[in-house]
């Protein structure tokens, strides 16, 4: 046994390097895409363009971080797009009738969390498969957003400048949504890595029965991730309407799929217990850069789709192959 202890330092170093390399593999994909983008179009490196891309990363990234929490528990949340819509129209309505901005923000977040809480209750107390519960919420939420807004976009006075700041403002040269995203990502990283709650999420996602026997409150953990997902969808909705100056009931259509894709590309397993927020951030960046390149290169819309699909597959394929080469015997 004793020789094991001697071996540990080098072995440990190797392992840690391996882990870095694993996350950074995706980082290389991102870097490669950026280099390709810069070669294809010099406009890519234009600071304004970089800011645009970052803003795009932020908008999709925030929801995707919520989904990362959910997917780590082996769940899924299809309702985020609809939550965005409900929060968008209801907050816009409140702004329209002149409720003060801070209250609107609180109310918006509360609506998102409440919808997430319903998801959470359905999955835990109701024992519904997350797919079904959140699919139901997706359909219901869309109907609700349509009903609230009577199908119309809801405008609110531009006057509320504080509110405009949320989606359109800048801070130290970067858009406010980017700062919000960075904050959310940092917080999420911290929670997942340095709090018992974060550990519990991984435990529940890896083996719910073992988690239960280890004294983890499985139900509460699962419930919480849906509330978090709802809250982050609500935050996205607030940024959306601030940016668009209108609350649309069609906001966020298809967002769930994009967010799930970002999370999975980022290396989080749909079977739970594996992955994390860094991958999701990189995944969001990859998505935004792909869309940006294709637009800058002036690829026609239909061809864009073909190329986009191919790049998604190729990026993850590259990652999978590289990881396979670098050991990790199945």
């Amino acid at each position: 046994m004793s020789n094991i202890v001697d071996k540990m330092p080098t072995a440990a170093k190797k392992m840690r390097l391996g882990r870095f390399w694993r996350t950074s593999g995706l980082l290389w994909v991102l870097v490669a895409l950026c280099i390709a983008a810069a070669l294809i179009s010099p406009a890519f490196l234009n600071p304004f363009n970089i800011v645009n891309v970052l803003r795009q990363v932020a908008l999709f990234g925030i929801v995707s971080i919520g989904l990362t929490f959910v997917i780590l528990t082996a769940g899924i949340d299809l309702s985020v797009g609809s939550i965005v819509a409900v929060v968008a129209v209801s907050s816009a309505l409140l702004l329209q009738i002149g409720i003060p901005v801070p209250l609107v923000i609180l109310a918006g977040l509360a609506v998102g969390m409440a919808m997430g809480a319903v998801n959470g209750l359905g999955v835990t107390l109701g024992r519904l498969p997350p797919f079904i519960m959140t699919l139901g919420m997706m359909v219901m939420g869309r109907g609700l957003a349509m009903t609230i807004s009577d199908g119309h976009p809801i405008r609110f006075p531009d006057a509320s400048d504080d509110f405009a700041w949320l989606g359109q403002g800048h801070l130290l040269g970067l858009p406010v949504p980017v700062w919000l995203f960075v904050t959310v990502a940092a917080l999420a990283y911290f929670v997942l890595r340095f709090t018992p709650f974060g550990r519990n999420i991984y435990a529940v996602g890896s083996n719910p029965e073992a988690a239960r026997l280890s004294g983890i409150n499985v139900g509460l953990t699962i419930f919480s991730v849906y509330v978090i997902s709802g809250a982050l969808a609500a935050l996205t909705a607030l940024i959306f309407i601030s940016r668009l100056t209108v609350g649309e009931p069609v906001a966020g259509v298809g967002l769930e799929l994009e967010a799930i894709a970002i999370t999975v590309i980022g290396g989080t397993s749909l079977f739970g217990g594996e992955g994390g927020v860094i991958g999701t951030v990189i995944g969001a960046a990859i998505f935004a850069v792909i869309a940006n390149i294709l637009n800058l290169a002036g690829v026609s819309p239909f061809t864009q789709q073909i190329v986009k699909g191919a790049i998604i597959v190729a990026a993850v394929l590259f990652e999978a192959q590289r990881r396979r080469r670098n050991g990790s015997a199945s």
Binding site: M1, I4, K7, F194, Y202, A203, L213, S214, A329
Partner: protein, 509 residues
């Protein structure tokens, strides 16, 4: 089998210079192994010595980095599972390889279901043949039951039946006995002897040396991925094997017993779960180790689960550390200082995608908290200490637990329950798959917990020597009831077995 065969007959299997590396670990460093027809070849070694890896290479589950495999003198170019099955190699893997959604019959015939003339699955014959196999082996398992409704022991029986029901010429059994009790083991040995008499070669892996002496002809000892030696069993004794395994002499496996049990800390009356547990009274005292024995399926596991609220159950009264009422769930139980280490580490214990450290600290993260966050340096200290104490063989604390050998995973589970710092520990099969050296460590640790920290410990075990060597009192279960109770001094293997199977002699208690 006598050794007349050895040497005279050509080996059916020849493994040469087999080497295998995993990230951070050399699992095998040039292993040679010969097995002859009709021979029962024991394979022993410490946890992580490379036994399972060697067998997985043989079955085609893993690819070796170096070396070659010959079956019937013919070198196999690229071994894969299907090819090896075709050459008559059948394996019982240590980590059960079963499809839990499927029935027993289907698992038995996984990949080779009987077909009708039309090429469709012949369900009738599948069920009939499964029942035949089970009856022949003397195992009590319904072929139509879904696998995830079976107890671990029953699942192991299915696994054994699966390998033995193939017309194999080389059968590998990787720790088949770890969860089996006495009577199932006897049946297994009977089958092994029958197969060996019919000329089948067997490789038998176990950490229970007496089994090796009971059934093997030849034994090969592995240490750190290399062969230390291969000897006929007749020429060797247990002490020598142990010395070859661990590289030193091991004295007394079981610790001295000089305990002063204190007050009763857990006392349950009339514990009942319909169909499984009937009117069970149980007490444990602080600083006492209580053993629970019984045949497979006698309800031992269910008893422990009921005590911590893992399953629904009823009871007349339940007193724990002076508070009344049965905990509603394991979380409540842990909050009141009682923790269960479950029987099946794979489905109920391990967080397989997570690290060794994660798995060990999960049940008590509070000690790692510092200024509102988990302190990873402190975690490394805590884990490092337990890893050393239990001799867990892992490249580092951050290694995924799924990359550890079975025995080392089990040690991690023990480390978790030791780390939980509970006043009452319920441990189901504590040394399942653990090597002799580590067993001794574990016994010492458990005894130390009971002696010094006055922890009350209940152990369920299928290994009678363990119960007899470690426990202050013994409860024997049969059909969900308590069949007998013994104090340490009066308990003997014969009495316990008699009580477990329900022979009149034991009824008195």
């Amino acid at each position: 089998m006598t050794q007349t065969k050895a040497g005279a007959v050509e080996p059916i299997l020849r493994m040469r210079r087999i080497g295998k590396q995993f990230p951070g670990v050399v699992a095998l460093a040039g292993v040679d192994l010969d097995v002859r027809p009709g021979e029962v070849h024991g394979l022993v070694g410490e946890n992580g010595a490379g036994k399972s890896t060697l067998m997985k290479i043989l079955s085609g589950a893993y690819q070796a980095d170096t070396g070659e495999i010959q079956v019937d003198g013919e070198t196999i170019a690229k071994p894969n599972p299907l090819g090896m099955i075709g050459r008559g190699v059948a394996v019982i893997y240590q980590e059960m390889m079963q499809a839990r959604h499927l029935t027993v019959a289907e698992n038995l015939f996984l990949g080779r279901l009987p077909r009708t003339g039309l090429g469709t699955v012949d369900w009738q014959s599948a069920v009939r043949q499964s029942a035949e196999v089970m009856t022949r082996l003397g195992f009590a398992v319904d072929p139509r039951a879904r696998l995830d409704t079976l107890s671990v022991a029953q699942r192991q029986m299915v696994e054994i039946a699966k390998a033995l029901s193939r017309d194999a010429r080389l059968v590998i059994l990787d720790e088949p006995s770890a969860v089996l009790g006495g009577s199932e083991l006897d049946k297994l040995f009977a089958v092994i002897r029958r197969l060996s008499a019919a000329g089948v070669a067997l490789i038998y892996i176990s950490h229970r040396l007496h089994e090796v002496f009971a059934v093997c002809d030849v034994v090969t000892v592995l240490r750190d991925g290399s062969v230390v030696g291969t000897r006929p069993v007749a020429d060797i004794d247990a002490a020598t094997i142990i010395r070859m395994m661990v590289g030193r002499q091991l004295s007394d496996v079981f610790p001295e017993r000089n305990r002063q049990p204190g007050d009763t800390v857990l006392s349950a009356r009339g514990l009942t779960r319909p169909g499984v547990l009937r009117d069970i009274d149980i007490d444990v005292r602080a600083g006492e180790i209580l053993g629970v024995c019984g045949m497979a399926g006698s309800g031992r596991t269910e008893l422990l689960r009921a005590l911590v609220g893992a399953d629904a159950a009823a009871c007349r009264s339940y007193r724990l550390n002076g508070t009344e009422g049965r905990p509603a769930n394991p979380r409540a139980a842990i909050a009141r200082g009682i923790l269960l280490l479950p029987e099946d580490r794979k489905t109920e214990g391990c967080f397989l995608p997570q690290s060794v450290a994660f798995n060990i600290t999960v049940s008590r993260l509070s000690v790692l908290m510092q200024r509102g966050m988990l302190n990873e340096a402190r975690e490394r200290d805590v884990v490092g200490q337990l890893v050393r104490q239990l001799g867990i063989r892992t490249p580092e604390a951050g290694t995924r637990i799924s990359n550890l050998s079975g025995g080392n995973q089990q040690k991690c589970m023990l480390a978790r329950s030791l780390n939980a710092d509970c006043a009452i520990l319920l441990i189901d099969e504590p040394t399942r798959g653990v090597d002799v050296g580590a067993k001794r460590e574990i016994y010492q640790l458990l005894a130390m917990l009971a002696d010094r920290q006055h922890t009350a410990i209940i152990i369920v075990s299928s290994e009678l020597p363990e119960i007899l060597g470690l426990c202050d009192r013994v409860v024997v279960m049969r059909d969900g009831m308590v069949a007998a109770r013994f104090d340490h001094d009066e308990a003997t293997e014969e009495l316990i077995v008699a009580a477990a199977v329900g022979e009149p002699a034991a009824k008195a208690a």
